[in-house]
Amino acid sequence: MTYIRSFLNIVALPLILLFIWFLATLGEASFFVPTPQLLVETFINTWTADRFVGDVFPSLGRLIAGIALSILIGIVGGLLIGSFRWLRALLEPTLEFFRAIPPTVLIPVLMLLIGIGDEMKVSVIVLGAVWPILLNTIEGVRSMDEVLADTSRTYGMTKINSIRYLILPSAMPQIMAGIRQSLSIALILMVISEMFASTEGLGFAIVQFQRSFAIPEMWSGIVLLGLIGVVLSFIFQLAERWILGWYHGLREIEQSA
């Protein structure tokens, strides 16, 4: 019963929205808004295996590379900056400055500096997606429980073991919150980075459809982007449940107490 119920909860709103859309496009079909039936048809015809190989997979590759690099740089940098007070004092004002620059305005500059290839696109993704992870990691390291830190010290934990068994897991709830934010930023930047001087990719394809007035195709690309976002968030939730199982259990007990 509970499964059916939660399934209904998930699909109820999409079904209602689809129905409204269906009703709204029933009479006169606007050229710019396709009917649901047409969109489904177009989706199937447009996103063929060829398109996946040519546009979707390269995009996903850059997206995954960008996210992976952001996580790596964010966590390593955050651990370092969070651990050393002097480093924090030195870097924080500058980091605030760089964080304030929208990564999209860097695209033309990056194109001049490192060309229009994958490196540029991945760089754009990292420049935007690294911040939530970096800042959350710093905050997570700083908010370490004092008693836990003292316990580790009294048992003479080595630096490596401290990072592995104390600092990293203790900062993990905040790190995961940062990663969650970064995922959506990365997806946005993936699309935008492909709208400039590109020859392939999802962003490129959507802009291409738009310019050639292939409106249903354009919409189908947007739907695909949405679906990618949903899959990303689903994978993230699975990973989070696995990595932060202890945290959710602990929270549940604290709240019920």
């Binding site: 429980d145 004092e146 008693v147 836990l148 003292d150 316990t151 010290r153 009294t154 048992y155 003479g156 934990m157 080595t158 073991n161 068994y165 104390l166 897991p169 203790s170 993990m172 202890w246 945290y247 259990g249 602990l250 007990i253």
Partner: protein, 302 residues
């Protein structure tokens, strides 16, 4: 030599428990000039520097802990017990004086020392299971896997938790969590075990069980235990010796030997005549300390 305050009310406790320092002002706890003590605290002083001025938490503490002794440190709340323990465990540097372990000055947490904190919920790693929590310090020391497994099993057995190695600490009751922390300390095989009000946050019945557990482990392992508490009954029941601290800035008010039989029992011991006398005496001293009586004043008046 004992302060005039305790003499008339407590003729039973006539032994001199407070010695005077050479300058004749600050009383000190029992020291052992001849045999090498395990742990030795000399003229320990701790001043916190804050924006609102300096706060002198610990003024001057001197005492020794011999090998294999279970001593309780008891004092009114706010008497710098935790500060003292942090200095002894090397987590905090004293402002003056020193702590030595086997004659070696303590500058950081020593290898042969384990600490059990009051806040069990914050001293166990919530992301590690019970057995992993006990195992971690051993892993960190580079102990072999099979030896580790055995040590963890034995330690959990010793605290009566052999049945929950796979649970997370936060799934257990408070008393059980503190048992895990004790098991972790036991598996580490320290020579000195420091316990900072370990049972302050558990209920009274659990507390009695845990007290007997600590006595049992102490006897079995022959480890030196310094047990900090604010509970007077607990200090007398557990210790072979009770070191009474004054109110802050802390000095030693009195150092009392507990001459109760080695076999202690929650019912028998606590209802014995001698227990009542010792308890009475310690209680009286703590009340004096709360009122601001300071032994150095008494010494200066003589």
């Amino acid at each position: 030599m004992t302060s005039a305050h305790s003499q008339p009310t407590n003729p039973v406790i006539s032994q001199s428990s407070v010695q005077d320092t050479p300058d004749g002002r600050i009383p000190v706890g029992r020291t052992m000039p001849d045999e090498q003590p395990m742990l030795s605290v000399r003229n320990l002083k701790k001043v916190y520097h804050t924006d609102g001025g300096d706060i002198e938490a610990v003024r001057n503490l001197t005492f020794d802990l011999p090998k294999g002794q279970l001593a309780c440190l008891v004092g009114p709340s706010g008497s710098g017990k935790t500060t003292l323990l942090k200095c002894i465990s090397g987590l905090m540097a004293p402002s003056a004086g020193e702590v030595t372990l086997h004659g070696q000055k303590v500058t950081g947490p020593p290898k042969s020392m384990a600490v059990v904190f009051q806040e069990y919920g914050r001293s166990l790693f919530p992301w590690l299971r019970v057995a992993e929590n006990v195992e971690l310090p051993l892993k960190n020391q580079g102990m072999e896997k099979s030896a580790r497994k055995e040590a963890v099993e034995q330690a959990l057995e010793a605290v009566g938790l052999a049945h929950v190695p796979k649970s997370y600490p936060w799934q257990l009751s408070g008393g059980m969590q503190q048992r895990v922390a004790i098991a972790r300390a036991v598996a580490y095989q320290p020579e000195v075990l420091l316990m900072d009000e370990p049972f302050a946050a558990v209920d009274a019945q659990t507390r009695a069980d845990l007290e007997d557990l600590v006595r049992g482990i102490w006897k079995k392992l022959g480890v030196s235990v310094l047990f900090v508490t604010h509970d007077i009954d607990e200090s007398v029941y557990l210790g072979e010796r009770v070191i009474i601290l004054s109110s802050s800035p802390t000095i030693i008010q009195e150092d009392v030997l507990v001459d109760l039989p080695a076999e202690r029992d929650q019912l028998e011991t606590r209802s014995s005549q001698r227990f009542a006398e010792l308890r009475h005496h310690v209680y009286e001293q703590i009340q004096l300390a709360k009122k601001g009586f300071r032994p150095e004043d008494a010494a200066a008046m003589r």
